[in-house]
């Protein structure tokens, strides 16, 4: 018998997180970035759109932490404001991808007749390079912030759909699902209560990765000029704008670039950490 006869107390989640350094670091960095973005109106020394003709392309200094751009706008203020949109795009695209992906995956895993069609669509979508698919979707829908979110949500939905479908195919054959069917539990309740509930950890882990990918993709789309319009600061549009001045003012690209790297890195750390934390095989105390 694997478990002891005396039930053991479950360790607290907080202490489990504290034991995992990478997860902890990822969470802290992410929290700082999110706070900076959310509190940008309070923190930013200047308005992100305030032009200053005399202070163009100033290097980082005490006055302008991250320097100024070609219009004399403060790069630090713009970087933290841009975080709002970049994080919003990442989060919204992830939520959309999750809703679409989980629904498709569950339906495909549960209903054999639809599985063939859905599985082929998922495969076909995953065969396209992410950015190419996103560009065509944005082109078809017309570029705007909402379009970028929708396009990225659609692009990343198959990743989740695939995981959910595969796990659903396994779980729906397990005796506890049979027990629920024998009790007459309606199918939709079996899908949510029995299947989805057991998929929370892989979905959560994948969602952190999708968040990171979506943010990168937004930056790429904006950089390529098919994302949000260039005057709206996102990390992508800032890098795109700084490209022309890379020789004279590398700080224009450096700081929004660093913001992307830090955010994506911490998301990956959180994703890896969550995967370890939620996997009972890697969690001896469970």
């Amino acid at each position: 018998m694997a478990a002891s006869s005396a039930p053991v107390a479950r360790p607290r989640l907080a202490s489990l997180i504290l034991q995992r350094k990478t997860l902890l670091i990822g969470l802290i960095v992410l929290a700082v970035i999110a706070l900076l973005a959310i509190l940008a109106p309070l923190i930013a020394p200047y308005s992100p759109s305030r032009l200053s003709v005399v202070n163009r392309l100033k290097p980082p200094s005490e006055r302008w932490f991250f320097g100024t751009d070609e219009f004399g706008r403060d790069v630090f203020s713009r970087t933290i404001y841009a975080g709002q949109l970049s994080l919003l795009v990442g989060a919204a695209a992830t939520v959309l991808a999750a809703v679409l992906g989980i629904t498709l995956g569950l339906v495909a895993g549960f209903f054999r007749k639809l599985d063939g069609v859905i599985a082929r669509i998922i495969d076909a979508m995953m065969a396209f390079p992410d950015i190419l698919l996103a560009i065509s979707l944005v082109a078809a829908l017309g570029p705007s912030l909402a379009t970028v979110i929708v396009a990225l949500g659609i692009v990343y939905a198959p990743r989740l759909a695939r995981i959910v479908r595969a796990s659903t195919l396994i779980i729906r054959e397990l005796p506890y699902v049979e027990a629920a069917r024998a009790l007459g539990v309606p199918t939709w309740k079996i899908m949510t209560r029995h299947v989805l509930r057991n998929l929370v950890s892989p979905i959560l882990v994948q969602a952190t990765f999708i968040f990171a990918y979506a943010m990168l993709a937004e930056a790429s789309l904006s950089f390529l000029g098919v994302g949000v319009s260039p005057e709206i600061p996102t990390w992508g549009t800032m890098i795109a704008g700084g490209r022309q001045y890379i020789g004279q003012a590398d700080w224009m690209m450096l700081f929004p670039g660093a913001a992307i790297v830090l955010t994506v890195l911490s998301l990956q750390l959180v994703g890896d950490g969550l995967r370890d934390l939620l996997d009972p095989r890697l969690r001896k105390d469970l």
Binding site: M1, A2, A3, S4, S5, P7, V8, R10, L174, P175, Y176, E178, A179, A180, R181, A182, L183, G184, V185, R193, H194, R197, N198, V200, P280, L286
Partner: protein, 330 residues
């Protein structure tokens, strides 16, 4: 045969007639169950025995429509379960329940014990609020667990305790018939007896009718009133347990019984050892499916599937040589 023939007053609660189950696979059709018929009298325990691959689990799953049968009928209290549409079946779900073999995968690891048992209660709207909590506590007590256990997760329990939780879930809807699919074979031997005693106790107290699926002949002899012996999806022999154990008529039953340990060392028996494995159900032998391993095989065995013949009250055998072999031991 009809089980009712030896106790005419007892109408069967469940009669399975000509149950067929064919699984379509890439390698061809697998006939998991062919022509299985038996009856379960109200309040009795029927044991289905056979080695792995004999189709005994499939029979149980088909009765509950957890897998869709390919043919035949299962008449439960006057209604053919196989003919019911999914919605109408839901009402019958409450009356038939199942206990699973694997106490680990049969409980959702993310649900607390109270939720697991509560789901059964909620699905059929049996109790709400405080009455629901009280019912969960009562059920846990009934299967020998502590009412506080409702707040815990399955992984906090041992295999035997988990099996008790599974039993409590089945009992929650007050079923009339329970299909127990090898309920103790995944447990430690020391725990098996406890769970078996619990099952027997509950069966008597609640007047349950049971189909007990097992490969363990001593367990079946201890518990069951009637016994059905399956081999490769077909019935070899069936009848009252005492009669079948005392006077097995089918060569396969004889082999099975000779393999079961007897606690009395002074009893001397000839042990018949079967050669080879159970044949693949993808390509079953013609005629009698047991002929490839039967110690008494003759040419005629290959030509036709033997009919099930009655050899005593409620006792029938599917063997063309059963008469001439009646006197032969082993």
């Amino acid at each position: 045969m009809t089980a009712a023939s030896h106790i005419p007053t007892d109408a069967p609660l469940l009669s399975v007639r000509n149950l067929q189950k064919v699984f379509s696979t890439r390698g061809g059709d697998v006939r998991a169950v062919s022509d299985v018929s038996f009856e379960v009298r109200r309040g009795s325990i029927v044991g289905i025995v056979g080695e792995s691959g004999s189709g005994k689990t499939t029979v149980g799953r088909c009765i509950l429509r957890l897998v869709e049968p390919s043919g035949g009928e299962a008449v439960f209290d006057g209604t053919d379960l196989f003919g019911l549409p999914e919605k109408a079946l839901r009402g019958y779900r409450r009356r038939l329940q199942i206990i699973f073999q694997d106490p680990y995968s049969s409980l959702n690891p993310r649900m607390r014990v109270g939720e697991i048992i509560g789901e059964a209660i909620d699905t059929h709207g049996l109790a709400k609020g405080k009455a629901r909590e009280a019912r969960i506590a009562e059920l846990l007590g009934r299967v020998g667990l502590n009412p506080d256990h409702a707040r815990r997760y399955p992984h906090e329990f041992s295999g035997g305790q988990r099996q008790r939780i599974g039993i409590a879930r089945a009992l929650a809807v007050e079923p009339e018939l329970i299909i127990a699919d090898e309920p103790v074979s995944a447990l430690d031997v020391s725990v098996q007896a406890q769970v078996l005693n619990l099952i027997q106790e509950l069966q008597r107290e609640l007047g349950l009718t049971m189909v007990f699926i097992s490969h363990d002949l001593s367990v079946v002899e201890y518990l069951c009133d009637d016994i059905v012996v399956l081999y490769l999806g077909r019935i070899m022999e069936k009848g009252p347990a005492q009669e079948v154990y005392a006077n097995p008529r089918h060569p396969y039953t004889k082999v099975l019984l000779s393999a079961a340990p007897v606690p009395d060392p002074s009893v001397k028996r000839e042990r018949v050892i079967l050669k080879g494995d159970i044949p693949s159900p993808l390509n079953p032998p013609s005629g009698c499916v047991f002929r490839t391993r039967c110690p008494h095989v003759i040419d005629a065995c290959a030509s036709a599937v033997p009919d099930i013949e009655e050899v005593g009250p409620g006792h029938s055998v599917a063997c063309i040589r059963q008469k001439e072999l009646a006197s032969v031991v082993g």
